[in-house]
């Protein structure tokens, strides 16, 4: 399944894999805790990548799906005492439904480009305000799961290595699904829609259906990311899970790493987190500084690395004639 366009890409991916495995061996728990955060965020980056990367529908509101997944799972567990596994699955489903709903509405009226970004941002903001207003979503207080470590409650907070391993598994699964999508008919249709929607329609592609399906899949991944966040931290509130910072993190990782590639979102998210943490440590933890840095990196990447790190790596040590984003 995995084919690399160049030695550079293979090396970049190898570096990431070596790092992820080395975390097990590093003596300091700080690295593992930090990487757990980065992996959790890379799920929402992978979610954005389906629509924004492959489908060319750049959303600025992936928090809408992320937060919906987190809230659906939290409301079921806290207000209705539903089993954590069932609630977790419901979170994924809720994310998918929210994605499909936003997509169905936006694409029904032909919204695209920056208008689509604005519509998704508006959805995320409306949901954020709703979540902070209604009692069932914990209003301004947020929702807190009862601490009850165990398999039945999906809480592994007392075992960092297990948490890390599970997250690695989830990220690997989402990436495997992404790779499978990429090499399926649906993936080809999605790229065709991104490159030229009229030509795609002429060739028999129901572009509306392709786009809404992409939003549903992306939403499922986003909901998964939100549900994972909830199980990690056991607490959510509207400004965290529906916040703009989630939407920004969702898109910045893939853009830096390489949108529309399988590895790009993980590479970008990890790289950014490393950079952000490094800067925080170097500058004694000025709050919010990592976002300033992200912005600078984003500007530089858009100017100098239009295909992200994976695109840059693809140009190093090209294998064969077929250049591009094959990984």
């Amino acid at each position: 399944m995995m084919r690399f366009a160049s030695l550079g890409q293979a090396a970049l991916v190898a570096l990431v894999v070596v790092y992820l495995l080395a975390v097990y061996l590093l003596p300091s728990q700080v690295w593992m805790g930090f990487t757990i955060n980065a992996l959790a965020m890379s799920i929402v980056a992978l979610s954005w990548n389906i629509t924004g990367g492959f489908g060319g529908m750049a959303s600025f509101g992936h928090a809408a799906m992320y937060g919906t997944g987190a809230y659906a799972s939290a409301v079921l567990q806290v207000q209705f005492g539903v089993n954590a596994w069932v609630a977790f699955a419901a979170g994924i489903a809720a994310g998918a439904l929210m994605g499909a709903f936003i997509g169905a509405l936006a694409f029904r009226y032909g919204v695209k480009g920056s208008y689509f970004a604005l519509v998704t941002l508006a959805f995320a903001e409306v949901l954020r305000i709703c979540a902070s207003a209604f009692e069932i979503t914990g209003a301004g207080r947020g929702l807190q799961l009862t601490l009850q470590p165990g398999v039945a409650t999906l809480q592994f907070n007392n075992d960092r290595v297990l948490t890390y391993t599970l997250l690695l598994g989830i990220v690997a699964l989402v990436m495997a699904l992404t790779a499978w999508l990429k090499y399926s008919r649906f993936g080809a249709y999605l790229v065709a829609v991104r490159e030229n929607e009229d030509a795609a329609r002429a060739l028999g592609i129901d572009t509306y259906r392709v786009k809404v399906t992409a939003m549903a899949i992306s939403g499922a991944f986003g909901g998964l990311a939100g549900a994972v966040y909830l199980q990690l931290w056991l607490f959510i509130d509207s400004s965290v899970v529906y916040g703009v910072s989630i939407s920004v993190t969702a898109l910045i990782g893939p853009i830096i790493g390489g949108a529309g590639t399988v590895w790009g979102p993980l590479v970008g998210t990890l790289g950014l987190h490393l950079l952000g943490e490094g800067a925080k440590t170097a500058l004694h933890g000025a709050p919010g500084l990592n976002f300033v840095l992200y912005a600078l990196v984003l500007i530089a990447a858009l100017r100098f690395l239009p295909q992200g790190l994976m695109g840059l790596a693809a140009r190093i040590g090209v294998l064969g004639r077929k250049g591009g984003d094959d990984a």
Binding site: R185, A192, E195, A199, A202
Partner: protein, 246 residues
Amino acid sequence: MLEVRNLTKRFGGLLALSDASLDVPEGAIVGLLGPNGAGKTTCFTIIAGFTRADSGSVRLDGQDITGLPPHRICGLGMVRTFQIVQPFAGLTVQENIAVGAYLRHESRREALAEARRIGQRLGMGALLDRPAASLTIAGRKRLEIARALATGARLLLLDEVMAGLIPTEVTEIVGIIRQIRDEGHTFLMIEHVMQAVMSLAETAYVLNYGKMIAQGTPQQLVRDPAVVEAYLGHGAAARLQEAAHA
């Protein structure tokens, strides 16, 4: 195979198509001619389902397809190409053709194999792994035809597929189209390059100001006074006649 009846389309105050009808029999190559702005592309976009007509009907193989969306029409066996070629830039030539082939082949392997087969048939065998964005205009025009063919369509609507090509490239595409027709496909083509129309089309229609003003073999049409006037202006036919007699 294709019956277009009384299509009318207005854009604001402009009557783009007025009561236009045409027939494309199975296995034929039919031309659609007319000066710039005559309504040819509007006619195509309506037939292929991209725009709705204000009135009139389109039937494919006897089935009413008026107002169906483009992807349904493509599924029924009719596909259009674009005057401004529209390759999927991020994909290779083979992957571009495969996007069409996916309509009838769900698996990637089969779609790519079909794309390879069609690419080779159209003389693009050596270009299959190249990014589509690197193709020349002639290559892109071929790619449009290849993608359309890959959908398994039996009727191809070609919108100015010769425009912008040099004469040797025109000759090559003419050969390809004839070969595809002989394999059982039908064509309706908008064309400005008279060399192509004269050598390919058995029948042609001429549109002017949205109206069908003539129909016949290309040889008849170039002598038709109404056609000559549509292209060269009012009174041109008479002056040409005088010039010929003088």
